[in-house]
């Protein structure tokens, strides 16, 4: 293996993965050669890559093997979810796609009617019913040859979610996507989503992962978006699974010309949370918005890696990530922007702003701009600081208690991201949830 420093526990986890994969492949009677080939190629890639170690530049501040402990099992349970749909998702005027432990469940979902001309089904069904379409998009952006977690996910690809908004179609209501983790053991679950949005199509996709029952799962999710010419997609992602849940979430977005893609990642709890957010605006006139809010407390570790690859001219990207770190939490932001040689007239903005609420919280922020075109506007800024004492005193001098002043400032700091969540019900819920989390005294350590 190229990384020589993989510990014994992860080797044994890898062994478990290999054993499981052999069984998984043996059970796949009747699967297409395409899928079998993809899985075994991905497994080979995973084997040669290995889990990233300390020497991997991409994982410099996130020694991920620390969270890949010996107790981690491959997800087994197929129990009925005890707690079905998260209450906040019980809204009017929305569709709902529910998975359980990474496996899409049509029976628990509320899907658009046939008149909507939108397909929402399991990837397994999609391979059968929309073979060409799926084969031309799956694992195209999510390159499994260079990234171990994407390879691992791809090696077990099969039962995820497939959404297709065909040319000219539009989802009249947002599609809420959620996964319910029911395995009481510490298990590896690997959700896989493929969204294909045709030309001149629109949709709002809201991914919601909260934690009834405080799952201790390790989630390795991969999501691919193909956004067709002149299409518009709003994407919202909320992670709030509680203090024993780990997440690695890799998002790959491919944009055709004149398309619009906006994503807003809100991370409210978790233990290890790592985002690999990749955007390839591969046509002129693209607009890409990446926003995120991280609220980390106690021992939480959040790492946001973004990569915007401007391959074609005349496009805009705008990136804003805000972090509030308390306790012993660690935040990492690595924002890479690439402007390729012929990609003139690009406007790319990036900003990472963090507030540290304790002396033992850490933030590592690194912009990475690679610009090969000469007629572009790019900017980046990173600030990390404590709450402004002058501002707190100002508010106190108007009668607010110190805690109220602090809360007001933090809420205002977060609002810039939250108010851009394009879903009123969720926006309102997030406001309440944030206040609840910020108002709670931080616990010094988890036990």
């Amino acid at each position: 293996m190229p990384e020589g420093n993989i510990s014994k526990t992860t080797v044994s986890l890898e062994d478990r993965i290999l054993t499981r994969h052999a069984a998984f492949m043996a059970n796949l009677n009747g699967s297409q050669p395409f899928l079998l080939g993809l899985r075994s190629n991905a497994l080979q890639a995973f084997q040669s890559l290995g889990f990233p170690g300390r020497k991997s530049e991409d994982w410099k501040y996130t020694p991920v093997t620390k969270w890949l402990d010996a107790s981690l099992q491959m997800a087994e349970s197929h129990d009925e979810p005890v707690l079905a749909v998260p209450p906040v998702l019980k809204q009017d005027n929305r569709y709902l796609a529910v998975s359980v432990n990474g496996i899409f469940r049509a029976d628990l979902s509320e899907l658009p009617g046939a008149e909507q001309n939108v397909v929402v089904c399991s990837l397994a069904d999609a391979f059968k019913d929309h073979t060409e379409l799926v084969q031309s998009h799956i694992a195209k952006q999510a390159d499994y040859t260079s990234e171990a977690f994407t390879a691992l996910n791809t090696a077990f690809l099969g039962n995820g979610l497939f959404v297709w908004i065909p040319d000219g179609a539009s989802l009249d209501y947002p599609l809420y996507v959620t996964d319910i983790c029911t395995d009481p053991n510490r298990s590896l679950i690997q959700p896989r989503n493929l969204f294909v949005v045709g030309a001149n199509a629109t949709g709002t996709i809201l991914e919601w992962y909260d934690g009834p029952g405080h799952p201790s799962c390790f989630e390795n999710a991969v999501t691919e978006f193909y956004v067709g010419p002149s299409s518009r997609v709003n994407h919202i992602y909320v992670f709030d699974r509680g203090e024993s849940a780990d997440l690695i979430n890799s998002l790959f977005v491919y944009q055709e010309k004149d398309s619009y893609f906006a994503t807003n990642h809100l991370t409210l709890s978790g233990r290890l949370v790592r985002y690999n957010l990749n955007f390839l605006p591969d046509g002129e006139g693209c607009e890409t918005h990446l926003l995120g809010l991280v609220l980390a407390r106690n021992e939480m570790h959040v790492d946001v890696h973004t990569f915007v690859d401007h391959a074609k001219p005349n496009s805009i990207s705008n990136e804003l990530y805000k972090c509030i770190l308390d306790g012993n939490s660690v935040g990492v932001f690595n924002g890479k922007i690439m402007v390729r040689q012929d990609a003139q007239l690009i406007n790319a903005y990036q900003s990472n702003r963090s507030v540290l609420l304790s002396d033992s919280a850490h933030m590592y922020s690194k912009p990475e701009l690679e610009i090969y075109a000469d007629d572009v506007k790019c900017s980046h800024g990173a600030t990390t600081g404590q709450l402004d004492e002058e501002a707190i005193f100002y508010l106190q001098s108007r009668g607010l208690r110190q805690e109220e002043a602090r809360l007001l400032l933090l809420e205002s700091f977060a609002r810039e991201v939250i108010e851009q969540v394009d879903d009123e019900a969720i926006r309102a819920y997030l406001g309440v949830r944030l206040r609840e989390l910020l108002g709670e005294p931080a616990v010094s350590s988890t036990t």
């Binding site: 501002a391 005193f393 009668g399 607010l400 208690r401 109220e404 400032l409 205002s412």
Partner: protein, 255 residues
């Protein structure tokens, strides 16, 4: 209302002595002006009264309505009717004026045993008080002080004063950086807010503001001590002769 006795204050850690025995008594309805050259301790006095951190009170007492003011938190002082108009109002990006002021007004009302204002009543009060001091109503919809001009920030301080209806208002160099028109509107606002129950301490470097807001008493602070007190004519004398005149006179009388 307020009784300051022999107040000695140093800057925390570095130990520089700023106030060296200030005595001052302020009663309801009175307007006191505190003048003095730069670095004489005027703003320190305002900051200490409002409860700002970073100062060591090395001696003396401050009594506010019979209570030990120095024992109270800044927010407690504010709820009990002490208001400081800042020399440099703080910008609060993302904190909306109405959200902030509604919390502030309701905290003060709660302390006074009054019911919280409803959203409708609060909005009405904001409009009324903004009109009282000619505050551009569009500023109410913005973040607190963010991107405000110098004059707008100072006017906003007086607007907050009007909203919170304090018993003792301390204006820390509210006139600095104001052009003559802005000074007039700010002064008009202050004059409208003068009342039998409310006292003002107006800290200023120049006499200009005192042409519009006529003080009952003028005190001159030099090197951390009030060296002279008088009526409004003292301000005119200072304007004509400068602080050097007073310093020289003091040096002569000391020798």
């Amino acid at each position: 209302m307020l009784r300051i006795e022999n107040l000695h204050v140093s800057i925390e850690e570095e130990g520089t002595r700023i106030l060296r025995g200030v005595n001052l008594e302020v009663n309801a309805g009175e307007v006191h002006a505190i003048m003095g050259p730069n670095g004489s301790g005027k703003s320190t006095l305002a900051a200490v009264l409002a409860g700002k951190a970073g100062y060591d009170i090395t001696d003396g007492t401050v009594e506010y309505f019979g209570k030990d003011l120095l024992e109270m938190n800044p927010d407690e002082r504010a709820r009990d009717g002490l208001f400081l108009a800042f020399q440099y109002p703080v910008e609060l990006p993302g904190v909306s004026m109405s959200n902030f002021l509604r919390q502030a007004v309701n905290r003060v009302r709660e302390y006074r045993g009054q019911d919280e204002l409803s959203a409708v009543d609060f909005l009405k009060l904001m409009k009324e008080r903004a009109a009282l001091i000619n505050l551009d109503p569009s500023l109410i919809k913005r973040s607190v002080n963010e991107g405000f001009s110098g004059g707008e920030k100072k006017r906003n301080e007086i607007f907050q004063l009007a909203m919170l209806e304090p018993r003792l208002a301390i204006l820390d160099e509210t006139d600095s950086g104001l052009d003559i028109d802005a000074m007039r509107t700010v002064s008009d606002g202050v004059n409208k807010l003068r009342s039998e129950e409310r006292a003002f301490i107006i800290i200023t470097h120049y006499q200009r503001l005192l042409e519009y807001v006529i003080p009952d008493f003028v005190h001159v602070l030099v090197d951390g001590v009030i060296v002279r007190s008088g009526d409004k004519s003292l301000a005119l004398e200072l304007e004509a002769q400068g602080y050097d005149w007073l310093k020289k006179e003091l040096a002569e009388s000391a020798s």
